[in-house]
């Protein structure tokens, strides 16, 4: 196994472009090292991005935020301003693993590991987040929802590396929330995940994004679910319409973690519950 510690994302991308065999980037390593130890994936080339300047920074950018590729969950949770503006994104990241995992795990690793059940991804999608990708032909921005391609797969090309996550400016009267269903209270993988991000005007929802995790091969951005609540003050009928839209967007599998019927039903339940939390966070009285 070749281990690299490049000093820039351009170098990291160049090493990856030339690499032969199984290549992995090492952010927190909470997926990579676990897969290595479990004899599931043994990389031939391992590129550690943590030596690159700025990867641990959370910085203001165009009224929003730039979160470096190696910022850990714990660092996000402790960042008060970030948490005040994007509590849904922060709580989604905070759900990952335990205290030990929180000290290492990153948003970018969670996204690029390609798990349909990744907790932070629906929250990022609902937030309208994007990532910077450094590749052969320079740096480009991609919406988060365009990264996952299926279980364990991304749309990143050989030689692409993600350098940061961007959250848009929060603006007024807005809130987001993320909920997941697990059979236990912690240390488990989402059977269903749902994030809702919305903006209010005088108690009425004027913008909304609803995203679901673990109910399809990739994260879903559910336009119908958003439309079900836009223009409403989140009354019972709107919530029922939201639940129905969320459920009907599901395309899950039956597996050891949950059945199709269960996931489909619970997606609707979580959508309602997350919407109510986001609504309250946006300043709407309920």
């Amino acid at each position: 196994m070749d281990y690299h510690t490049p000093g820039s994302f351009e170098d990291a991308a160049a090493i990856a472009a030339k690499a032969e065999g199984v290549t992995r980037f090492l952010a927190g390593g909470t997926d990579v090292l676990v897969q290595l130890r479990a004899d599931m994936v043994t990389p031939d080339v391992l590129i550690d991005i943590k030596q690159i300047a700025g990867v641990k920074d959370i910085a203001r950018e165009e009224g929003g935020w730039r979160i470096g590729a190696a910022v850990s969950g714990a660092e996000m949770t402790e960042h008060n301003e970030l948490d005040q503006e994007w509590p849904g994104v922060v709580e989604a990241m905070d759900l990952i693993g335990s205290t030990q995992i929180q000290g290492r795990a990153t948003l970018v690793g969670n996204l690029c590991n390609g798990s349909p059940a990744a907790d932070s991804v629906p929250a990022l999608v609902a937030a309208g987040a994007s990532v910077s990708v450094v590749g052969k032909s320079g740096t480009r921005k991609m919406p988060v929802e365009d990264i996952p391609a299926g279980p364990g797969k991304t749309n990143l090309e050989k030689g692409d590396v993600v350098s940061a996550v961007h959250l848009p400016a929060r603006g007024d009267n807005a809130g987001d929330a993320y909920l997941r269903f697990i059979p236990r209270t912690e240390m488990d993988i989402a059977v269903v995940g749902c994030a809702v991000n919305l903006r209010l005007d005088g108690g009425k929802v004027i913008e909304a994004r609803v995203s679901l995790g673990a109910v399809a091969p990739t994260v879903l951005l559910v336009e119908d679910a958003a439309q079900a609540i836009v223009g409403t003050s989140l009354d019972e009928a709107a919530l029922e319409a939201l639940a129905a839209a969320a459920s009907s967007a599901c395309n899950p599998i039956d597996d050891k973690r949950g059945t199709i019927a269960f996931r489909t039903h619970v997606a609707g339940v979580l959508a309602k519950r997350a919407a109510k939390i986001a609504y309250e966070r946006a300043g709407g009285a309920k």
Binding site: A38, D39, F181, P183, R184, T185, E186, M187, D188, I189, V191, D255, K256, R257, G258, T259, A261, F262, H265, V266, V269
Partner: protein, 749 residues
Amino acid sequence: MAPDGNMTNGFKVVGTRPKRPDGIDKVTGRAKFGADATAPGMLHASIVRSPHAHAKILKIDTSKAEALKGVKAVVTRADFAEGLTGENWNILENVMASDTALYDGHAVAAVAATTALGARDAAKLIEVEYELLPHVTDVDKAMADDAPVIRAGAADKSVPEGLHPNVVRYHESGHGDVDKGFSEADLVVEDSFKTEATHQGYIEPHACLAQLGSDGKGEVWCCTQGHFNVQKVCAALVGTDSSQIRVTPSEIGGGFGGKTVVFIEPVALALSRKANRPVKLVMSRSEVFRATGPTASTSIDIKIGMTREGKITAAQGVFRLQGGAFPGAPMEFTAMCAFAPYSLENVHQVGYDVMSNRPKQAAYRAPGSPMAAFAVESVIDELCNKLDLDSIEVRLKNASKEGTKASYGPKFERIGLVETLEAAKAHPHLTSPLAEGQGRGVSCGFWFNHGGETAVSLALSEDGTVAISVGTPDIGGSRASMAQMAAEELGIPYESIRTTVADTATLGYNEISHGSRVTYASGLATIKAARDAVKKLCGRAAAKWGIDEDAVVWEDGCAKPSGPNAGDFEPLPLAKIARSMGRTGGPIVGHYEATPEGAGVSFATHIVDAEVDKETGQTKIVRYTVVQDAGKAIHPTYVEGQFQGGAAQGIGWALNEEYIYGEDGRLQNSGFLDYRIPVASDLPMIDTVIVEVPNPGHPYGVRGVGETSICPPLAAIANAVSNAAGVRLTELPMSPPRILAALDAQANG
């Protein structure tokens, strides 16, 4: 106190809560567990396992592995003893397959190399050619006419004609006339239940270090509940004499019955013999799940009749247990425990031991009993609900007492079921209000407890301190309890005694630490060994004083003349006698060897409150109280720990733990991520009440406590969840999808 007398009060040390002697070792990480042993020149081993549920092994090609640098030995079945019969054959077949792989994870070969990674790589180079055979993993399907036969001719004489060859043992027991009893009932409830296999879930995977020379002399260091059994089984499987294998047990990171079984030690010995080097073998978590014993899965039918006043008129049960690809599922325990809490005129139980393509089941705390209680106590709860009767009163009305003819045959001696029910009735939990969405459940549970072969020795040091050697690995704080009992007898401080779990060369044969037997049997042997030492101490005093041995008594740690007639001498403390023992007759050692048979049975009553989220099917256990008869709690903290541990494991079993097999017969969840034992935040504080109804078969009244505590939880939780959800749950685990499906089915009529 008479030398052989029983004592039930006036204790000085027993019943107190001293610090555990292995505490510092455990919290500082100094304690040595199975994988902590090393030896010069040690090799590392890896086992090749079948990825198929059922397959003929056509060919094993080890040449590529053997050619790999660092590989020192490869073994297959040909490297083990031949001509074994009975259970030894079954164990060997499980330890290393012969011509057929019987379950996903079944060992087929093993390799030893200079590094652990090298062994893992070499294992991948061993090529096994399989011919797939049809498989079955469900107990009901394994009994059906069209089920593939796991092994023809495996059934014993107990099985009636006409049953599928996978049914390998049959049990029937009971008394009275159940048909007559059912006709006298005002209400008869009948239902069917299923429980999935669950793993003991010990945190420490199996691990050993073994050495075997061409002279047949061997050493094993391993993590086990019973090193004498490891010695016996290893000797048979590698073909040497028991006394030539010395086994030293390590500290143990949990066992719960799962470490009463031998899996890897014979493999490490066989590799060592071939390589002529010590070999270390450590299982991965996935191997632990795939290839060590979970408990049996079950399919159960229960029928109970009751009068309007709550008297049970008849009870009957059919218990089908799947125990993997070998005989031995504990169906007779299931059948015998099922109705044991109740005094019944008419009772009948039938058990089936069924083979399937799963790992060989192993004991798990009160093997077979929790599943029986789940089914029986669910039906009793249903009867109470339908007849509008109080669940504790109904259990009190039917409770077994001293003199009751047990559902499994014998008459009960002094038992404490009624006392646990009375204590539950008086507990504030039972009358506390329930919140919206919550339900309450109660259940009783029963376990036999066990005595077994036991040997203990107790040696005095010159400075007046004492070393106890026991042969039962300490799986629940027993070193402290032994020291307490010896301190009580000898009249010296607890701190002056050290208890060691000695190796197989030090003591006579000791049965495994199982059957909740250690505090009972090793405790009894410790007390008797201490009394033996006291007799010798008194003898030395008598000789010094020139009086009769009978004229000396032992009190408060001193030899004293028994009365004025015996003479007037200064009391001689233990330390003083010990200091001069070299000159007064040599070392003083007390010992005791026997197979005590007075293990008292024990009962428990649990109360649980559960909250069910009807939108998601999620269950939260909000309050839990364990009431159990301990006979006598030597170290109450450890007794409470056993109570809480049984409840915690029961919560996992009831709600989320299960072996999930795919269509291909492979285990889908061989890790703690998807095999969901409860995490700390899933559990409420578990309240405990120790009831003490002394066991007449132990000098201090001790009953085993380790197993009874896991008997009521499945039922108590199922009753709480069913009452909260408003629908009867009859299948375990009561996972969220299953609860939602039950609610759906109810809503759709």
